[in-house]
């Protein structure tokens, strides 16, 4: 029993980490009122103290547990920047006498020190993480972590390189096998800044990973999906180097800590990032709705929103002299197959009404700019119909291409037209403009589109929930594939395709054009129709038939990521719909 006035106290280890001075030791005092550390001229009070049972100390002093419990201590003092070997003095105020101990700071790089501390860790760790949010203990936890491997028994995990979603989050995926439910937290942290970006275990959606399931066939129970995907919203993720210095720290319930250094993220442009994200799930997987809603959806939203704003360098070439004051501007984006221009011009050339129409082709595909412009020049000499070609150095997507052309269009009425749409009869353009002018409160007029075999392709859009897409509303084309019977009548509909869409230029501008947040062109037409409707305009489908050689301009075969782009666009579209947009059916 120590004499009155001197409380025995000893420092086992002291080290300066990023968040302050950590001191581990023991003191024969049940209650500590305050803790102060002096290091030369610097003084500081502890901001954290955790007590735990030290059997070795108890044995030495013959103390029974329960008599003077919790002899050990861990304190942290927010004193920064002390070099190793600095002399420090620790002073506890207890309800009895003060206790003091002196020590020299260890070098955290010395493994001796870490090993010494690690020997105590089974006692310290659980006490620490029980009492404090581990996020506040990162420097120490990191020091105490063991690289993940087979040292953790059945528990294993792996985090793939993270994708920065613009500057406000990270999308992380990987797998985790934890048959005994040992995991408490799986932190994602940056070793350069020391920031904890989030706890994956509270964010993730679990996904199937057949390869992992196969490797752990004995340990995983059926129905447990080892994969995970998690979007962590957090700022500054595109700061220099953040994604190059990520590590994952698994904190287990028993206090053990496993660490994995994450490989630097590949440098990806926005589209490649989107493609990468889309590869992380399958359309048919469980929890598709949650994955879209909480992870993939917001992540792609962020990637696309934060992409470097386009400043396309527009080039305009006018072939022939455009009509002086056109009433109508027809806008045709070209992507991939520019030879459709040849086919359209061959038909437009003998339509007298086209002489009064401003025709603008937009090359939205830098890969075809040179041959498309050359063809445009040749075709101009042949067909002699005046038209303009806008080209630029990037791919803006369907919405962007139309928006660029709409800004320079002179017509009072815009007709957005796909390059694979071919009129059935001359005079189609003024016929559509006339419908727009005469139908009551018409804001947008689409039209009847036919397949090349004469069957119906489009006579207006209708939203319907798709069960296999987590109940998201998709646009269906009622009557598609059926024999077309001409009615000559326009009908009011909820939406029309932009494959052929007639709209007042003024309204187009009021609506801010087609929404460029949809990727690669999809749903922006329906979106625009709902936005126009919200402003009180009506949407009609006219019966001015046109052929639409649908999907000839894009090759979809075997391109599953494009299907998933559609799924993303569908989700994004659903977020923007008015509440009553989907009629039950």
């Amino acid at each position: 029993m120590p004499s009155a006035g001197v409380v025995p106290c000893c420092i086992d280890a002291a080290v300066s980490l990023a968040d302050g001075l950590w001191i581990v030791g023991w003191v024969l005092a049940a209650d500590i009122k305050s803790t102060m550390v002096t290091a030369g001229p610097t003084r500081g009070d502890a901001d954290l103290i955790v007590r735990y049972w030290r059997q070795d100390v108890a044995d030495h002093f013959g103390i029974q547990r329960g008599n003077r419990p919790l002899l050990g201590f861990v304190v942290r003092v927010p004193v920064h920047g002390l070099p190793p070997k600095s002399a420090i003095e620790l002073q506890f105020q207890t309800s009895e006498s003060p206790a003091t101990a002196k020590a020299e700071l260890a070098d955290p790089a010395q493994t001796d020190f870490a090993n010494g501390l690690r020997a105590q860790w089974p006692l310290i760790g659980p006490a620490l993480i029980r009492a404090h949010d581990p996020v506040g203990l990162m420097p120490l936890l990191r020091l105490m972590a063991t690289p993940i491997g087979d040292r953790f028994g059945k528990f294993q995990f792996f985090v793939e390189p993270a994708i920065s979603t613009g500057n406000d989050g990270l999308l992380v995926n990987g797998w985790e096998v934890d048959p005994d439910r040992e995991l408490r937290h799986l932190y994602l942290s940056c070793s350069r800044t020391g920031r904890v970006l989030g706890d994956l275990a509270t964010h993730w959606a679990r996904t199937p990973r057949a390869d992992v399931s196969e490797r752990h066939v004995g340990t995983l129970t059926a129905g447990q999906d080892p994969g995970f995907i998690a979007w962590l919203p957090c700022s500054g993720t595109s700061d220099n180097g953040v994604t190059d210095h990520l590590y994952a720290l698994a904190v287990l319930k028993d206090g053990r800590i496993a660490r994995q250094d994450i490989k630097p993220s590949p440098a990806l442009g926005p589209l490649a990032s989107v493609q990468h994200v889309l590869r992380l799930f399958t359309e048919s997987q469980p929890r598709l709705g949650d994955i879209l809603e909480s992870h993939v959806g917001p992540a792609i939203d962020a990637i696309w929103r934060h992409r470097t704003p386009s400043e396309p360098r527009l080039a305009r070439q006018d072939f022939g002299s455009a009509p002086a004051a056109p009433d109508i501007t027809v806008i045709v984006p070209l992507y991939g197959r520019y030879d459709f221009m040849r086919h359209q011009l061959a038909v437009f050339a003998d339509d007298p009404a086209m002489e009064r129409v401003e025709l603008i082709y937009v090359i939205d595909d830098p890969n075809i700019t040179t041959p498309a412009l050359q063809l445009a020049e040749e075709l101009s000499g042949l067909f002699r119909l005046p038209f303009s070609v806008i080209s630029y150095n990037e791919n803006l997507g369907f919405a962007g291409a139309n928006n660029v052309a709409a800004r320079i269009a002179r017509g009072r009425v815009l007709i957005l037209l796909n390059s694979d749409v071919m009129p059935v009869k001359p005079g189609w353009a003024p016929a559509l403009a006339e419908q727009l002018a005469s139908l009551p409160e018409a804001g947008i007029v689409g039209t009847t589109l036919l397949y090349e075999d004469g069957s119906l392709q489009h006579a207006g859009l209708q939203l319907r929930r798709l069960a296999r897409w987590a109940g998201l509303p998709v646009n269906i084309h009622p009557g598609k594939g059926l024999s077309y019977v001409s009615t000559g009548q326009s009908r009011q509909v909820s939406g029309v395709t932009a494959a052929c869409m007639t709209i007042h230029r003024k309204l187009y501008q009021e609506l801010g054009g087609l929404d460029e947040g949809f990727i690669l062109g999809d749903f922006e037409d329906s979106d625009m129709c709902f936005r126009a409707s919200a402003k009180g305009h009506k949407i009609y489908c006219a019966d001015v038939p046109m052929y639409h050689l649908e999907r000839q301009s894009q090759s979809l075969a075997g391109d599953s990521w494009k299907h998933k782009v559609t799924l993303y666009n569908c989700w994004r579209h659903s977020k923007r719909l008015p509440a009553n947009a989907v009629t039950s059916k």
Binding site: D350, E378, L379, L382, M422, E452, D453
Partner: protein, 418 residues
């Protein structure tokens, strides 16, 4: 004031002796013989070594005969070099100032030429002679399906074309038809050498009144036409003249001959004149060779011939057989046989059936059927008066003079309308 006619062809007979090239050239020559015409010829040629740099044109060493560096794809017949058309050809038109531009083809020259004429000379009459079904059918214009059956899809329905030739999508066939039609719409008057061809194109979408049926007349060869000895009782000598291709049915003919009885084969004779089999698959070549080898010794393969030799060769035969398994349009060999007074035995379909009148100046058999042909040949061998009767029914084929006369009338009529 002479009418200026520019004849445009897809080849020049100096380099390529196809029926259409010869027809175009014959017309060009005949128009120049007339005193109301001044004809020019522009014939495409694909021989790169003949071309000069910086111009698509070169000349033959005769007045007003030019060559044009053509080249098109074989789907749309779109010119590989549009500026040769929109600039050089347009310049040529401005230079010649023809009243009529008469196209004998659009392949090789480029279908866009039709529009260049309309752009450059709005008042010129545009004529187009249709030589086969190329605009309708991308399978070499044969209208013969890939499984060998006859195609009746004259609408060029894209779904049916795709089913026959799946290499291209229905949308491609739709665009092909739309593209070709857009240029054909600029033509003032079409000329079809047979009523059958005309009907096919009417079904395809051309207005009936814009297609005139005018046969490609033959230059008269009065000196060649040795008097046919109609009195001698003949009828056992059969002959085939033409290209040996899978469409011409030589295999059907050889099979038919083998189906004759031993005694009949001994009495009959079959001469095969022609070549070209080496242009086709080995399978086909081998089949023909095998058939010739195993045939009766009275079947003789006589090899290639040149058109000038036809009269001499046909003199030693009685019947000319046209066993084609496709429609045919207006086969030259039928006109030649008529010119030399030989009755023709041909399939009962398309242009050949139209040009040979059954039981009047020739005989029809069920096209493609060897046994039907064999039966017909048996009639020839056994019916004593048949040959003489049919021989007497033969009328001479239209002459080039008559063709030119009729076309000139069409030029005038179309000009009036234009």
């Amino acid at each position: 004031m002479k009418r200026k006619v520019l004849v445009v062809a897809h080849g020049h007979p100096d380099f390529s002796k196809g029926g259409a090239e010869i027809a175009a050239y014959t017309l060009f020559q005949e128009l120049n013989r007339r005193d109301d015409c001044e004809a020019w010829l522009l014939a495409a040629n694909g021989i790169a070594g003949l071309q000069h740099t910086g111009t698509p044109f070169s000349a033959r060493p005769r007045e007003r005969e030019m060559l044009f560096a053509g080249g098109t794809d074989y789907f749309l017949f779109s010119a590989n070099n549009l500026s040769h058309l929109t600039q050089d050809f347009a310049e040529l038109l401005r230079h010649i100032q023809p009243d009529v531009v008469h196209f004998h083809h659009y392949a090789v020259v480029g279908i866009e030429m039709l529009r260049v004429v309309r752009n450059t000379l709005p008042n010129a009459v545009i004529m187009l002679t249709l030589h086969e079904f190329l605009a309708i059918c991308n399978r070499n214009g044969q209208m013969l399906k890939s499984n060998g059956s006859l195609c009746r899809n004259a609408e060029a329905d894209p779904a049916e074309c795709h089913a026959c030739m799946p290499g291209r999508s229905p949308q491609d066939y739709f665009l092909r038809r739309q593209y070709i039609r857009s240029f054909f719409a600029l033509v003032d008057q079409f000329v079809a050498p047979s009523q059958f061809l005309k009907e096919r194109y009417v079904t395809w979408g051309l207005p009936s009144d814009r297609i005139s049926v005018v046969e490609n007349g033959q230059p008269s060869r009065a000196a060649d036409i040795a008097a046919v000895d109609v009195d001698s009782a003949r009828g056992h000598r059969f002959a085939f003249f033409g290209q040996i291709t899978p469409y011409k049915g030589v295999d059907v003919l050889l099979q038919a001959f083998s189906q004759l009885s031993k005694a009949e084969q001994k009495r009959a004779r079959l001469d095969i004149f022609g070549g070209g089999q080496d242009m086709f698959e080995k399978d086909f070549q081998e089949r023909i060779e095998q058939q010739l080898e195993s045939a009766h010794r009275n079947v003789r393969y006589r090899g290639r011939y040149v058109p000038e030799d036809f009269g001499r060769l046909v003199a030693s035969t009685d019947w000319v057989i046209v066993p084609s398994v496709w429609w045919e349009n207006s086969p030259l060999v039928i006109q030649e046989a008529r010119q030399y007074g030989r009755p023709v035995i041909c399939g009962d379909i398309g242009g050949m059936a139209e040009k040979v009148r059954h039981e009047i100046d020739g005989l029809h058999f069920q096209a493609g059927s060897a046994s039907a042909l064999a039966e017909t040949m048996q009639r020839c061998l056994h019916e004593p008066d048949l040959w003489v009767r049919l021989q007497r029914g033969i009328e001479p084929p239209p002459s080039i003079e008559a063709t030119a006369e009729e076309l000139t009338r069409l030029y005038a009529r179309s000009h009036h309308r234009a």
